[in-house]
Amino acid sequence: MATKSSNKQMFEAKQGIKEYLASVGVSPEALVKVGQMADAVIKDRTLYPVFKEQAVASKLVEPDELDMKVDYPSLAVFSTLGKITEQMLASREIGA
């Protein structure tokens, strides 16, 4: 059940994504793809190096931001950002 507080948090999250995409100059599709990779790493941590390489290559994160070990909070962030971005694309809140 969505509450007033959660709606506000979602609004802030979407605003943050827009600023983030605009700041790093990354397409929303790239963020969705990295988010999907993050989900895959969460299920199979052996994919973490591939994810890290793709995230850095996409210029979504600087190389030292991600630890050599599995950085689950960062994976959670990318996974969440990817899903929110996917919803925004579906609702045309952001354009491709």
Binding site: S23, V61, Y72, P73, V77, I84
Partner: protein, 408 residues
Amino acid sequence: MGKFWRKVKSAFKKVAAVALVVVAIVNPALIPAIGNSILTTVGVAAPSAAAATAAGSAAITTASSLAQGNSLEDSLKAGAVSGVTAYVGISTATSTGSAAIGSAAGSAAGTVVAGGRPEDIIRNAVSGGIGAGVGDAVGSTEFGKTTGVGTAAGKGVGTFIATGGDVKKAIDVAVNTQLIDLANVGYDIYKDKAYKATLSPEQQAAADAQKLVDTSKAQPGTQLADAGTGTMTDAGNQLGEIRVTAGREAGAVENVLPYTSTTVTKPSSAPADTLPEVKVTAQREPAAPENVLPFTVTDSLPEVKVTGQREIVEENQPIPEKSAKEPEKPAEQTPAKTIYPSMYFTGVSPTARTPLNEGLNLSSAAPLPTTGLTSSRGAGEIESKESGKKRQSVWNEESLRLKDALGL
């Protein structure tokens, strides 16, 4: 680091802060998935759904708190509390079958996080009421006292310092070494309480008994309950006799005396055990007149003649004195007895003149002195001292002396 990457870094931190807050809203399944991965990474094989959710919630909450600029300590506390809260929430929904928290495991933690409660949790953590708060949430003060969420945070902080600022290690330590144990304790306490709340006292007793049975089967030799009152004294190496007594088990019993039961059947024609009531009636006798003697008095008594022989009483017979105390005996009617009084001769017969008398010139009128022993008796005759008996011819010293004196 170039300017670009600094810009990316700053942008990432900013978006990460808001993203972590809405993780539970956007992707509830992510929390237990992350928790499961964390626990697996640190060596916890096949963690339960509740534990995985707790770990995931703690990790994300901590990261979210850090991303929002809070201190590591507060962030770890917030993560620990979030994890425990999520754990308890899931346990509640699971054990009671209630969907109050949410159908999905992650939604419970998601509600906590999405409802803006992380801020409240952080404030509570800062104020130092973490353990008590969690204890109240569980409904048991044991939870907060025996474990303490702050311990988990402290472990995380210590690890953070020891590792030179390794956030992930700090979280892993906090989640693994303390939070899981904490959550397990809380879960067990709550599950037991929640389950028992649905049972009647009888069912609770049966459940406790069944638990003891299961424990005994799983762990033979386990002491299931405290022994009864008694005293055991350690006698050192000296073993004493131990006598174990118990009641005989029901079953085949030997040495049972044969018993034959006799059934007495009362015939149908037999009289009843109780006799009918019988009334006895009679005519009342006329009342006897009062003061009537029960015998007849005649006017004259028959004449009675008493006859008997008169007793002869001798005058010289001494009458024995009767003792005053001696009871008076009835007079016996004995035949009259002839009494012979003792008689002594005190003189010489007039016709008995002897030469001695003549020689002594004694007148015949004068009485002769005599001893009285030899008067009118023969030689050697001594008058018997017993009156009434024949004289006996006995010579004794006195008579012999007399005989010699007389020249007989």
